[in-house]
Symmetry: C2
Subunit: 253 residues, 2 copies
DNA sequence: GAGTGGTCTAGACCACAGA
DNA sequence: CTGTGGTCTAGACCACTCG
């Protein structure tokens, strides 16, 4: 099949190209490693090492006993402007996510849970609540044909969110979270974001996103404030690195 | 030395901890792989695989014949607010970078080149010039004790920058680029940025940043515009992923 | 049970840097 | 020349999934 002996980087490159070219579509299963080894005239160890590269890049997700699933999603999903401020505020990206995923022939899925919990210290500080204070948290997990693409957690002080529309379970809040908060008398006028482009996932994140522990993630922490300077919403986003592109625009003084 | 047999992830974890704890400081050289193999009671193959993990994370840079150099830099350099808008505009981050690097006991270095070149299509489009039009480009490479930390390229239309202070070589432009452009009659009022948190480097980038091809990078494309909507400056930043943290604040409408 | 990926070894050869 | 990391093999055993 392949005339020359290839190195594991070259095997990875070949598979990478096949995947991006659509020869192995997203959510499909790659041929087993022994078969690929034969195709490329290499040992299975070598193919396995090539696979580790692709897994770390996020193109692929090997699972013991089940085979290796293609987790690469074409640029459409990452691409520009969709995650811009206006869209995000309008509907929490739900619509944009759904149409992006459908556009590449996959099935968008949402999992939403609403609960009361003590936020991590970083979030508590941003919200200005005590480290042991219960808050309301709305968690979402977005998937494309079973591939986890992003997780969100939106935190609100109980004082604000208790027994409001925010505490209702269900996939959509009419007009979005910021609109709902505004109706409750907490209109946000400024927001700040901290972006960590790449870090290793926590164990919990790796498990929920179904990625290997060495696959890095991008984290965005969004804090919304009212005109009085009160932080009323902290939303954290964690996605496997490369599933996100971020755009923003700002005035220069 | 180590009672139990460790897996390569565990060996990597042990080394990771040692590095972060300062047992192997930045820019120092790790013990050779055979020695580590003996320490951990494992084969060299295993240690080598652990090293691949650390290299992909960017904690370490193994070089044939020379040994494995620690390239991890403590959070101080990444940490918040330093790369915020105000600082970046003030002095192109030069001061902040120098003091960050010195604070961890390393030597900051800058390499600056100024030349005329045809920009990549993406930059040409952003500047609104033809794809074959010569532009002025100021390139910088920032290093900490020989470890490349970041590369920048600032592009300007020749029409604006020809024979101005922007074309002078040398490390600093008094007051920064935006100030210089303002003095030339091109005051910027808005900027937009596109952030690609994680992607594989081009060959050229991997070479200039001295990273392996599978070590991902973060890219920021910054476009500055005048009140008339003319793009007068495009600055691209590429850094090994995890050397950057980004913060910004914006008004909500 | 059969087939998948996950891990590991022992040893080998190579490319490169430096004394 | 020696010692470094880079690559590769052949084979082994394990853990997991599914029929």
């Amino acid at each position: 099949m392949h005339p020359q002996r290839l190195g594991y980087r070259e095997i990875a490159a070949a598979l990478r190209q096949d995947i991006r070219a659509g020869r192995y579509p997203p959510a499909s299963v790659l041929p087993p490693e022994p078969e690929l080894a034969q195709q490329y005239g290499a040992s299975r160890s070598l193919v396995n090492r090539a696979m580790s590269l692709l897994a770390a890049e996020g193109l692929v997700r090997p699972r013991q006993g089940r085979g290796t699933i293609v987790t690469w999603l074409p640029p459409m999903l990452h691409s520009a402007a969709r995650y811009s401020r206006t869209t995000r505020e309008r509907d929490g990206n739900r619509g944009a996510f759904d149409s992006d995923v459908k556009a590449i022939g996959l099935e968008p899925q949402h999992e939403i849970t609403v609960e009361r919990a003590v936020p991590p210290a970083e979030v508590a500080d941003a919200l200005g609540v005590a480290h042991d204070e219960l808050c309301l948290v709305r968690r979402r997990r977005l998937l494309a044909s079973g591939i986890p693409v992003r997780i969100n957690a939106s935190w609100f002080p109980l004082e604000i969110a208790e027994s409001t529309v925010l505490e209702e379970p269900g996939p959509v809040i009419n007009g979005g979270i910021k609109s709902a908060l505004s109706n409750l008398g907490y209109r946000q006028t400024t927001a700040s974001e901290r972006i960590v482009p790449s870090r290793l996932p926590t164990e919990a994140e790796a498990s929920v996103l179904e990625i290997s522990p060495e696959r890095s993630v991008t984290e965005i922490v969004h804090v919304g404030q009212t005109a009085e300077g009160r932080s009323v919403e902290v939303t954290t986003t964690v996605a496997p690195a490369h599933y996100l592109v971020i755009e923003h625009e700002f005035p220069l003084t």
